[in-house]
């Protein structure tokens, strides 16, 4: 049972507002008291090794006849697609010498649970305006990426709220398309074209050479957040093969 900061455990509801809402729940048995059979809190099953069996296939969320299941970020899981290290580095780089809003945990070398870097929400206004003007989800994500250079988690949550969509749906779309990035991007983005014409002209060697020179794998960003190296399927500059496209990302130029 997780111990709370004041020394109590979650099974001992105190008079806080949170537990007012949760009255009537037997946390030990994880079920609702005074409810008909079959209704209760459902937990995720763990295997013998203690790892969760669920791999978020989202089938239950989609099949639930009364829409009571929402797949969301669970703090107990390590959140892989979001690069906490890089986000923290970005937060620190943005506000040198100041607190990034995550207390001092990162300075102490600890991983704060649910760490959220501060982002400039003023940049988000055009996205909201776009959504209210009838733009689709993909367009909203493009606008967000244009504003921040990547898709910060907070922004995805805002989009989900604004469009009345489950967060899982927004995240699903954001992670489906190759152009969307979930981690902060370097100041300069180098895209090595991997189209057919570039391939026959030696594009894999070009990507390898960039990777060696910058000492980052393809898809990675240098620790100083200066360069991001990525590959792109075809930029249509086949006459110039092998081609690479270097550009300065708009946000932190």
């Amino acid at each position: 049972m997780p111990r709370r900061s004041d020394g109590t455990t979650a099974t001992e509801p105190k008079g806080s507002a949170l537990y007012e809402v949760l009255k009537g729940i037997d946390f030990e048995r994880r079920e609702l008291v005074d409810k008909p059979r079959g209704v209760g809190l459902f937990d995720l099953v763990k295997d013998k090794a203690g790892a969760y069996k669920c791999y978020a296939c989202t089938l239950c969320e989609r099949k639930c006849p009364v829409d009571c299941i929402e797949i969301d970020y669970c703090p107990e899981f390590e959140e892989l697609p979001f690069d906490l290290e890089a986000e923290r580095a970005l937060a620190l780089a943005t506000l040198p010498g100041e607190s990034c809003g995550a207390n001092a945990a990162c300075v102490m070398g600890e991983q704060p649970a649910g760490f959220v870097p501060e982002i400039d929400m003023k940049l988000f206004d055009p996205v909201v305006a776009g959504i209210r003007g009838g733009s689709g989800l993909v367009e909203a994500l493009h606008a967000t990426q244009e504003a921040y250079g990547y898709l910060p988690r907070v922004a995805l949550e805002e989009i989900a709220g604004e469009m009345h969509l489950p967060f899982s749906r927004v995240f699903g779309v954001a992670s489906f398309y190759a152009q969307f990035r979930l981690t902060p991007v370097g100041k300069h983005v180098i895209s090595v074209c991997m189209g057919t014409a570039c391939h026959v002209a030696g594009a894999p060697l070009v990507a390898e050479a960039f990777s060696q020179a910058l000492d980052v794998p393809v898809g990675g960003t240098t620790p100083d957040l200066l360069f991001t190296l990525e590959t792109v399927n075809c930029i249509g500059a086949c006459a110039l093969a092998p081609a690479a496209w270097a550009r300065t990302s708009r946000t932190r130029a």
């Binding site: 689709g136 989800l137 993909v138 367009e139 994500l141 493009h142 699903g172 779309v173 489906f176 398309y177 190759a178 152009q179 969307f180 991997m194 189209g195 057919t196 014409a197 570039c198 391939h199 026959v200 002209a201 030696g202 060697l205 390898e208 050479a209 060696q212 792109v232 399927n233 075809c234 930029i235 249509g236 500059a237 086949c238 006459a239 110039l240 093969a241 081609a243």
Partner: protein
């Protein structure tokens, strides 16, 4: 009689509205005046067009010619290999590969004077003779430009340029006649087939879409040109966006659509901005939006940007993407013409298909049918790339042979190397060998030989490309781009890729080759959409035409093209090596050692086969040879 009379009145009104839309003072006018057209396509921009046009303007200012000579920034001229390009009118003198420092001489000789600068002219790659005029360049003289007729002539950012050259008259004609069924009949009679790959008759698709009931009808242009090696749609969007808008307007009128989308790849920023500008201009002149040309008909277009998913070129995945879902296709038991975007009847055509429509309306279906073969009419744009001398956009009538396109127009192979194969249709197409160079290109022929038209990418490869590695490249692409919805495609492409990786690593067996064929058939049979349904084509054509090369990898553990790294090694020829020390510092793993003026040696344990040493060597002293079979076996163990 009465009907004809009102028809005439309507036509007159529309013609007047169209005339009012044009502001002739803003158009760049014809070629009779002295004028310089500088190509501002993506490729020329990337090779330094801005510096060239700036220098040109400065030189004109210096000679006080700025008001007499117009500099027009046009769309892509097509011969991208030779950029930046400028053409000096009225003669039409063609200057390729320009540098800013050349501009003074060109202005002095060709603009102020009437001569040509011999030194800067284009050289025929086969004869070496200088070619002065654009129309005589073999790359252009071999083409039949219908869709691309205005590209390279007009300024793509100016609607007046397009209007002054007969733009939107096809729309005015269609609106004047006010008979949508007649438009569909005309397009059907022309034999126009979809330019996106499958080649479905466009008129028939429009007819189905019109006949299907729905609250709203949608029309979508598919500009999600995901095939690597294809850039025809980008050229239309960048060089003549209004031809697409006009084609879509005609299509929308024919099927009764209320709203349209243009789905463009996000990787084409210039295309998006030029299209956005074109839509704004068309709205401003009353050619788009409410009450088009005073007819009371409303129709508007929106741009929807893709986000880097190849599968979104598939119709149902594309509509899912516009709706804000993951771009996953659905089973097409019910076609998009019945249930498409937002469950409404939707017509989806390729950008190039729409760009053909105004020409057909203006010139009639007979003129269109006169070009092409029995089953495939009109012209087709191909993007020629790879190891051909002239890379760029080629528009030829259907039925032109592969050899004509690659050798007559494309100028043959680079560096005098040997033609090995041509890859058509991107990851859905296949590689055709030299024996098929006389094959006329049309939908039926390409399918018969195991390839497909695709959107028109044509990548030429020479003997330095390993066909197994090439097939592996396409499977890396499809395995990565498979959306994961259906099992045959998601897992099948991964398994095929693994087999190909084994073969290129020298670990393949003859059973693997059989397995490849079997698995490919299964993927084709079982996949939900055409991404999986056509994904095995590169492997199947490789097995069909280049089986010897595959078997060399499997049986002899040898890569004839010297590409597959586990099967080759870099050596130094002690007789040719001068000990110049150029390769030693270039080697990233310090695998090369040797004294100055002594032959060097490569430590095979350290060598990562990155090819750097071979490229820096000035004496061709680093031959690539087959790795010792024993070495390969040792590695496998």
């Amino acid at each position: 009689m009465a009907a004809a009379k009102t028809g005439t009145a309507r036509q007159t009104r529309i013609r007047k509205a169209l005339k009012a839309a044009l502001r002739p003072e803003l158009a760049t006018g014809d070629d009779k005046a002295v004028k310089i057209r500088v190509c501002a396509g993506s490729t020329c921009n990337a090779t330094g067009r801005a510096a060239v046009s700036d220098a040109l303007k400065k030189e004109l200012d210096k000679r006080e010619h700025s008001d007499k000579v117009e500099v027009v920034l046009t769309g892509c001229h097509g011969l991208c290999q030779e950029g930046p390009i400028a053409v000096v009118h009225p003669k039409g003198v063609f200057y390729p590969r320009l540098k800013a420092r050349d501009m003074a001489e060109i202005v002095e000789t060709s603009v102020v004077g009437e001569d040509v600068v011999e030194r800067l002219l284009y050289r025929d790659p086969q004869t070496g003779a200088a070619v002065a005029l654009e129309k005589d360049v073999p790359f252009y003289s071999g083409q039949t430009r219908v869709v691309r007729a205005l590209n390279g002539t007009i300024d793509p950012t100016s609607i007046d340029d397009y209007l002054s050259r007969g733009g939107y008259t096809a729309l005015a004609k269609v609106l004047g006649e006010d008979d949508p069924e007649a438009v569909i009949d005309l397009v059907e009679a022309s034999g126009l087939r979809g330019r996106g790959g499958a080649g479905f008759p466009t008129g028939t698709k429009w007819r189905y879409c019109r006949a299907n009931p729905g609250e709203k009808h949608y029309i979508i242009a598919n500009g999600d040109e995901g095939d690597p090696g294809a850039f025809m749609d980008r050229a239309i969007l960048e060089d003549n966006p209004h031809s697409l808008v006009e084609g879509m307007l005609i299509g929308a009128f024919a099927i009764g659509a209320d709203e349209g989308y243009v789905y463009v790849r996000h990787e084409y920023p210039l295309a998006v901005s030029r299209l956005r500008l074109a839509l704004e201009q068309a709205r401003e002149r009353g050619l788009l939006g409410e009450d088009i040309l005073g007819t009371g008909w409303d129709f508007d277009l929106r741009i929807n940007q893709g986000a880097g998913a190849f599968v979104c070129g598939e119709s149902t995945a594309l509509t899912a993407s516009i709706e804000g879902h993951r771009g996953m296709p659905r089973g097409k038991h019910i076609r998009t013409v019945a249930h498409g975007l937002w469950q409404q009847p939707t017509d989806l055509n390729n950008v190039e298909t729409f760009a053909n429509v105004p020409w057909i309306v203006t010139n009639g279906s007979e003129a269109f049918r006169a070009m092409g073969t029995e089953g495939s009419k009109g012209t087709k744009i191909f993007s020629l790339a790879g190891k051909a001398r002239n890379s760029g956009l080629v528009e030829v009538p259907m039925g032109a042979t592969l050899g004509e396109v690659i050798f007559s127009i494309g100028g043959g192979m680079q560096d005098g190397r040997e033609f090995k194969a041509v890859q058509l249709g991107g990851p859905s197409g296949g590689c055709l060998p030299a024996e098929l160079l006389d094959t006329p290109i049309d939908f039926e022929n390409l399918t018969r030989y195991g390839s497909m038209m695709g959107s028109g990418g044509m990548v030429v490869v020479d003997d330095t490309t390993c066909m197994v590695d090439f097939a592996k490249f396409f499977f890396e692409f499809t395995a990565q781009e498979s959306c994961g919805k259906c099992v045959p495609c998601r897992i099948g492409t991964q398994r095929v890729l693994e087999i190909l990786e084994r073969i290129t690593a020298g670990e393949g067996t003859e059973h693997d080759v059989e397995l490849l064929e079997e698995l490919s058939e299964d993927i084709i049979e079982g996949s939900l959409c055409q991404l999986g349904g056509s994904a095995p084509n590169p492997v199947l054509t490789t097995l069909r035409y280049f089986r010897d090369e595959v078997m060399a990898h499997v049986v002899e553990k040898r890569c004839p093209a010297k590409v597959c790294r586990p099967l080759i090694k870099y050596t130094i020829d002690p007789d040719a090596c001068t000990g110049c020390m150029a390769c030693t510092p270039a080697c990233p793993t310090s695998a090369i050692s040797g004294e100055r003026k002594q032959a060097h040696v490569i430590d095979q344990k350290l060598c990562i086969k990155c090819d750097t040493c071979r490229q820096v060597c000035k004496f061709d002293a680093i031959p690539v040879v087959d790795a010792q079979p024993a070495l390969v076996e040792g590695r496998a163990q």
